[in-house]
């Protein structure tokens, strides 16, 4: 009994930042991701909702690098997702580019745009930063709607070809599930590694106090700009995949609401936790998929749940629950082993 508790606790500690942080969590996540389609290959919630969860996990994890770790809020993250998607859509349909080349071009464009705006935008703080990112997102969205000759306006671009690699073409929902799941796991792994790297520690220092971080010799402007660009690039990659997966893009998928939704995912799961972002993204997408049956009541229920979680678990669902679990475990163990040795 106590051994299993100890093992579980060791797991919790490992997954909360032990010697090889997140490795156990990543393996667990990979196991779930692989097991789901093998167990339920025809389930709508796996092949369709699952792919949507995958995309949103990628976006939320990338946004969490910026919001959770660097402490820089962005209310316009959907813009980068959209820029990636539209680059692929326009280059492949109107100019017959190879999809991979189009994807690279899109990433290059986003790299340029993000680098260009990162410095002036990240000079801003708090609500001003929120406003600037929000404004950027809305401007990009308006261009998508208005530049009809290029973007097809509100109707969007359709007939985007699928992806193919070395003769294997991604066609069915299940194929896409594997592709998105693979990219998602790679992004999660990347995020976990960044967080535990020199850059990650610098980021958290910036979050704690920019002034203090600067005193420690961290180039805060550069660190923030780097994570901003990286976060934008990951989102653009997701956007490009999204365009090919859907075969169709329209401005609705990249509006202000999507940006807000992404922030909600990060905060809902718990900021500054990669698994929190994963949890938040999965929870919100599944919740919305489940609430569809309530039709007109969907919004009321969604709003109420969102408020309730944030009021009662302000650290976020995942981080709050993990902390509670850990507390319960230590409390249980204390009377047995009074020495109170730490599990590394």
């Amino acid at each position: 009994m106590s051994r299993s508790v100890q093992a579980l606790q060791g797991g919790v500690a490992l997954w909360r930042g032990g010697a090889r942080p997140g490795l156990l969590g990543l393996l667990l996540l990979a196991a779930v991701v692989v097991a789901l389609p093998l167990l339920f290959p025809k389930n709508y919630f796996v092949t369709v909702v699952g792919v949507s969860v995958g995309f949103h996990v990628i976006l939320a994890v990338s946004l969490n690098l910026l919001i959770g770790y660097a402490g820089q809020i962005s209310l316009g993250h959907a813009a980068f997702f959209g820029l990636g998607a539209y680059s692929s859509a326009i280059l492949t349909t109107r100019y017959d580019w190879n999809p991979w080349l189009a994807m690279l071009a899109g990433l290059a464009a986003v790299f340029l745009i993000a680098s260009l705006i990162s410095r002036p935008i990240l000079r801003l703080r708090g609500h001003y930063l929120a406003m600037a990112t929000l404004g950027f997102g809305i401007i990009v969205h308006i261009v998508m709607v208005q530049a009809v000759t290029f973007t097809g306006g509100p109707d969007g671009v359709s007939g985007i070809p699928g992806l193919a690699l070395l003769g294997w073409s991604v066609r069915t929902d299940l194929h896409w599930y594997w592709v998105v799941a693979g990219v998602m796991l790679a992004v999660v792994w990347l995020s976990l590694n960044i967080v535990d790297s020199r850059t990650g520690r610098a980021l958290r220092a910036v979050h704690g106090s920019e002034f203090a971080a600067e005193m420690m010799g961290i180039d805060t402007t550069r660190t923030k700009a780097q994570v901003f660009v990286l976060s934008a690039l990951i989102s653009a990659l997701a956007g490009s995949l999204f365009a090919h997966q859907q075969g169709f893009v329209s401005p609705d998928s990249f509006s202000f609401f999507v940006s807000i939704e992404l922030v909600t995912m990060v905060v809902l799961g718990g900021m500054a936790s990669t698994y929190g972002a994963i949890f938040g993204a999965a929870a919100l997408i599944l919740l919305r998929a489940g609430l569809v049956v309530f039709h007109d009541y969907e919004m009321v229920i969604l709003g109420a749940i969102l408020m309730a979680i944030m009021i009662f678990l302000p650290q976020g669902l995942f981080v709050g629950l993990a902390r509670g679990l850990r507390l319960a475990l230590t409390r249980r163990r204390e009377p047995a082993a009074a020495s109170g040795d730490e599990v590394a």
Binding site: H127, M271, D296, M299
Partner: protein, 291 residues
Amino acid sequence: MLDQLPQFLITGVTVGSIYALVGLGFAIIYNASDVVNFAQGEFVMIGAMMAISLLTAGAPFLIALVLAAVCTVAVGLALEKFAVEPARGASVVTLIIITIGASILLRGIALLVWGKNFHAMPHFSGETPLHLGSATLLPQNLWVMGGTAVLVIAVRWFFGRTSVGKALLACSCNPTAAQLMGINVRRMLLLAYGLSALLGAVAGMLVAPITFTSYDAGVMLGLKGFSAAILGGMGNSMGAVAGGLLLGILESLGAGFVSSGYKDAIAFVVILLVLFFKPSGLFGRGSSERV
């Protein structure tokens, strides 16, 4: 083209007045609690919708307006009491998500009660257009501008001259010190939410005859109000008013001289440029961070 300038200005000031009132609501709550209340736009929608419902139900004009305002204030107080206060001590981002949740909830309720249709409100005093040089304006335009002016002056007087208003300001400067001086900080927070709900409701009722309203009308207005508050410098009430007017005029000129499709983009580009050169808004105090 240029002879249309007065017309564009009238439209701009009318729309800008509404942005100013919503922005003022943002500034008041932000001042009192450091929270950006993303449900601010919903106050505007609820005020207008309530008034329309009461009018259709046959209530006399003035009574309908007053009742609608009272209901909206009640919603604002409830938001503070049941959503913001229980989460005291949570981070600012958490509180923002709570207000976003509240805005979704309120929109959802509005959808259930009033449906997806657009609702029209009768003009306050007829629809005979007035001519002012080359420009025409509706009496409702004057109502919007006049109403906004009266409210702004009243808010200014409230914060500058009354002891309650000064107590509210004290809470924004330093809640702990305010508490020690015998100010009931929690009640002041409640007051701030009530006051900004009132401003939102009035804005909604003033503009509803011109623009119509629907369950999701609050989203864009809330966004513009937030922009107005930021443009003016967050925490500066009169800055928010100036920001709102400026935003309205910018939009109207952009729509008239450049392209109506891009009018919002033009406004946001200007806001971004302002922020790049003045990172704390037009009239914001430069923030000094205590280390």
